[in-house]
C-alpha cells in the first residue's frame, strides 16, 4: 500500500490565524479549506489506529493459518 502525504495545519485564532491565512493562500491560491476540530482529529486518529490494528491482526491470522495447514515434516521411520 502506498499512501499520499497530508499536510496538517494547527490554527489558533489568538496565536497564528492571520499568519495561517496568508501562508495558506500563498501556497494554495485560495482561502477555502477543510477544518476539523481537535476532538474530531482525535477521533480520526483513533479510527486510523483501529484500522491499523485490524490490518495487523488480519496479517497475524493469515500467518497463523499458513503455518497451521503446513504439512508436517516427514520423520524417518525406525525399522
Amino acid at each position: 500500500m502506498r499512501l499520499n502525504d497530508v499536510k496538517i495545519y494547527v490554527v489558533s485564532r489568538e496565536e497564528n490565524y492571520e499568519e495561517f491565512i496568508k501562508e495558506f493562500e500563498a501556497k494554495n491560491g485560495g482561502d477555502a479549506y477543510i477544518a476539523i476540530s481537535v476532538k474530531d482529529y482525535e477521533n480520526l486518529s483513533l479510527n486510523f489506529a483501529e484500522l491499523r490494528r485490524y490490518i495487523e491482526q488480519q496479517k497475524q491470522i493469515i500467518l497463523y493459518y499458513e503455518e497451521a495447514v503446513k504439512p508436517a515434516e516427514e520423520t524417518p521411520e525406525s525399522e
Binding site: 502506498r2 499512501l3 494547527v10 490490518i55
Partner: protein, 133 residues
C-alpha cells in the same frame, strides 16, 4: 485292533495338523494386530505432536493479536494525558509539528505493515503524490 490303532493315529495326526494350522492362523493374526497397534501408536504420536504444535501456534497468535492493540492503547493514553485543545490554542506551531510527524509516521507504518512479500503480486493503487502542502 490294528485298525482301531491306525484310526486313532490318523485322528491324532489330523488333530495335530488342525492345531498347527490354527496356530499359523493365530500367529498371522497376531502379526497383523501388532502392525495395527504400531500404526495406531504412530498415528497417536503424530496427533499429539500436531496438537502441541497447534497449541504453540495458538499461544503465539494470541500474543501477536495482543501486540496489535499496543498502538491504539498508547494513542488513547496520550490523548487522555494531554489536553490537545488547550495546547493547540496556546502552542499551535508545536502541536502542528507533532501532529504532522505522528501522521507521517502513521502513513509510514501503514505502508510498512501492508508491504507485499516478495513473490506476491502487488495491488498498490496509491500514487505517492506529494501534492500536499
Amino acid at each position: 485292533m490294528i485298525l482301531v490303532l491306525l484310526a486313532g493315529a490318523g485322528g491324532a495326526f489330523m488333530y495335530v495338523k488342525k492345531l498347527q494350522s490354527d496356530l499359523e492362523t493365530a500367529r498371522a493374526n497376531v502379526a497383523k494386530m501388532e502392525i495395527a497397534v504400531q500404526t495406531s501408536e504412530q498415528s497417536l504420536k503424530l496427533e499429539r505432536a500436531e496438537t502441541a504444535r497447534l497449541g504453540e501456534l495458538n499461544n503465539q497468535l494470541s500474543s501477536d493479536l495482543q501486540k496489535a492493540e499496543q498502538y491504539g492503547d498508547e494513542l488513547r493514553a496520550t490523548l487522555q494525558k494531554h489536553n490537545l485543545t488547550h495546547l493547540a490554542n496556546k502552542k499551535p506551531g508545536l502541536i502542528e509539528k507533532r501532529m504532522q510527524d505522528a501522521t507521517n509516521k502513521l502513513w509510514d507504518d501503514l505502508e510498512s505493515i501492508t508491504t507485499v512479500p516478495s513473490g506476491v503480486q502487488s495491488t498498490d493503487s496509491g500514487t505517492q503524490d506529494n501534492n500536499s502542502n
